[in-house]
Symmetry: C2
Subunit: 314 residues, 2 copies
């Protein structure tokens, strides 16, 4: 366990992979000592409801309600509302369970009442017993779109609707230049002692956060330790299309490439034992490699990795 | 069956009781020959979604999907979304099933896209295979509120939230003076050959429709036959609080009182055999009594009553 005067930890994360490490950190830190900043570049309006896929994956993971088999949604959820919406002629390509719908209904209602996405996120998380800090990256809309061989696709349309099959030539974050970093991100960035880039997709998950005006610059001058955990292990992504996209963008599919992406904002690069042979290349980038087991299957795995990271500032 | 040159029938209805007769009429008439005008004075916003209880009861009844035991909602519906909304701290006194939520989500979305409630109602009904005309009474908001010994209560708060227990001293239809009769009501009123007031609550269900500017006046001068079916049988309402409210408003709880309410817009008053002794009193109001069995339990009951009514203009 971390001592009471441990520095506050700011973790940046997307969905499933990032949420695993975030859960590990939450299990090691008191609520006041952790702020998890989550990508909202995939947020979409489905059936008139505001859906925040990564915020929901994070909330369901931290509250122990997530469907770990699917990697999305709630364990044991049913799909009767979606079936009925299909009868009504609605476009139901995006799977939404009945309990999941409650999240989107509540979020949409609270937003319509004038609350910010940050406020709503805190309220929803607390209702499910999550007291560690969770903040959207921004209260303003940012839309991650992929230029592909099938045309321009918003993130969820690419990822879920087209199962990440189209070939990607460019990733853009629409609206990011006018989006402000959420207060939870700004404040914690100014006060935290440890910055953790969780093992999330560099282009689709962490990219939107880092593209927010001023954020990357503030990270460069961040006085605490900056740790990045590679989402690429053994030449492919642990989960999701990160490896495929890297290849399509003409990059080397390797944890070294990830370290290169984060070179200006990374002191310690956590890489998997499978990639131990690449540690020297990381070092040559001016980054300290930390070779360990990064595959998180059990809760113990998550806690163990979190502890190794926290020990860097212990 | 009614012949191809039968006059078009306009039926006014609220929820359960009215929907039973409306179903009987739908089973006897071709889609083009029936327009059902439904009360929207109970419409409410729950969880940011537009809920139209009477329109839904009508749609679920006509499509064969209604929960006949409850008298509301869909048969076999589940309540997992509502349970989750409760976890999020939402006020969940109004029961909404998962499939029912789909209706409200879809309606809210289509309204937000700029469609009128009439257009949305037609679209939803057709999706469920209901091709007979169903129209809301108005596309404008009207709110039925009851002055009670517990203060002013909107209809659903009184009826569901307080189980119709508070004592009613007055019923008002807020906004009705600025609400226009929906096109489906206006047009059919101008062209129909038969007007049927279904056995619905005179104050809470048909009252709001009749209070729309110009509607009652047009019914008075309606050239076709005007038939009213009593919701009061044997000195009480067949279902719901109509009898209780009549008593609290200082009225006689009797089908005769209902006939008196509709005196200016009723040629034939359909009353139950249990009330046969009151037929003379109906006649003394200048209305033709039609004594028959009005209790509709089976589909055959509904068709039989519909046929007797249609025979009046056959």
């Amino acid at each position: 366990m971390v001592t009471p005067d441990s520095p506050v930890v700011l973790a940046l994360a997307g969905g499933v992979g990032g949420a695993k490490l975030a859960l590990g950190l939450a299990l090691c830190l008191s609520p006041d000592d952790l702020m998890i900043c989550v990508n909202t570049g995939d947020d979409e309006t489905f059936h008139g409801l505001h859906v925040s896929p990564d915020l929901d994956t994070m909330m369901y993971t931290l509250s122990g309600l997530s469907n770990q088999e699917n990697g999305w949604g709630l364990a044991g959820d049913t799909f009767t509302a979606l079936e009925m919406l299909r009868k009504f002629g609605a476009d139901t390509w995006f799977n939404l369970g009945d309990r999941d719908f409650a999240t989107h209904i509540r979020r949409t209602q609270l937003l319509a009442e004038g609350k910010t996405l940050s406020e709503v996120t805190t309220e929803l998380n607390r209702s499910l017993g999550v007291f560690h800090g969770v903040t959207p990256m921004s209260n303003d809309p940012v839309k991650t779109v992929l230029q592909t061989d099938e045309g321009e696709l918003p993130m969820q349309r690419y990822f879920v609707g087209r199962r990440a099959e189209p070939k990607v030539s460019e990733v853009r974050y629409l609206g990011v230049e006018n989006a402000a970093a959420a207060p939870g991100l700004q404040n914690t960035l100014a006060s935290a002692g440890l910055l953790v880039l969780c093992p999330s997709n560099p282009y689709l998950s962490l990219g939107p956060i880092l593209a927010l005006p001023g954020v990357r610059q503030k990270m460069r001058t961040f006085p605490g330790k900056k740790v990045c955990v590679s989402p690429i292990v053994g030449g492919d992504a642990v989960k999701g299309p990160a490896g495929k996209i890297m290849a399509e963008l003409g990059k080397q599919v390797s944890c070294v490439e990830v370290a290169r992406e984060y070179r200006d904002i990374c002191d310690v690069f956590v890489m998997d034992v499978q990639d131990r042979a690449l540690a020297l290349e990381i070092q040559e980038l001016g980054i300290t490699p930390l070779v360990t087991s990064t595959i998180m299957e059990t809760e113990e795995d998550k806690i163990a990795l979190a502890r190794e990271i926290l020990a860097l500032v212990g």
